[in-house]
Symmetry: C2
């Protein structure tokens, strides 16, 4: 029962500054999280629902199950990542847990 | 340059009715879309940002590139899926295109 942490970043004030920190500092922290199976990141290129371009970037972190994800959040590496997230995430950014269908 | 269509469904009026249609009718339509590399679906289990439980389900459709995704949207199977989406998606549902980082 794979679980996935979905992080959706709203538009940053300065995209270049955001990306530099995101790719240079944040993702290396993410990569150290124990139990992380896979991380997938990307930029929102288009909105097809007629709504606003709310989000700038999305990151998805895959874990084998809920317990592994909780252990990751409880680790020192998870705490360092959360601390850095708090520094960079623009207001209105979302953080959701998805339980994948089989 | 993999691209991904992210569909985020807001809370349906009746989750059981929604899931029955979603899994029994909608996903079989999705599976027929030409050029689809992978589809990943799941339910939102928790919200970690202190905000509202805006979304009920998420679906992500992977395509090799932008051109393949556009061809998929232009196909009869893509149109059938879009028509069914319009029937089931609760108001406020989002449909975003993500360009994945390498």
């Amino acid at each position: 029962m794979t679980v996935k942490l979905i992080v959706m970043y709203t538009q940053p004030e300065d995209q270049a500054v955001f990306d530099e920190h995101y790719l240079g500092v944040h993702m290396p922290l993410v990569a150290k999280i124990p139990g992380l199976e896979r991380a997938e990141t990307g930029k929102i290129g288009a909105v097809l629902d007629g709504g606003e371009q709310t989000y700038y970037r999305v990151a998805e972190l895959y874990f084998a199950d809920q317990a592994t994800m909780e252990a990751a959040f409880g680790s020192a590496e998870g705490a360092a990542t959360a601390q850095d997230y708090a520094k960079i995430a623009p207001p209105g950014s979302r953080m959701l847990v998805e339980v994948l269908d089989d």
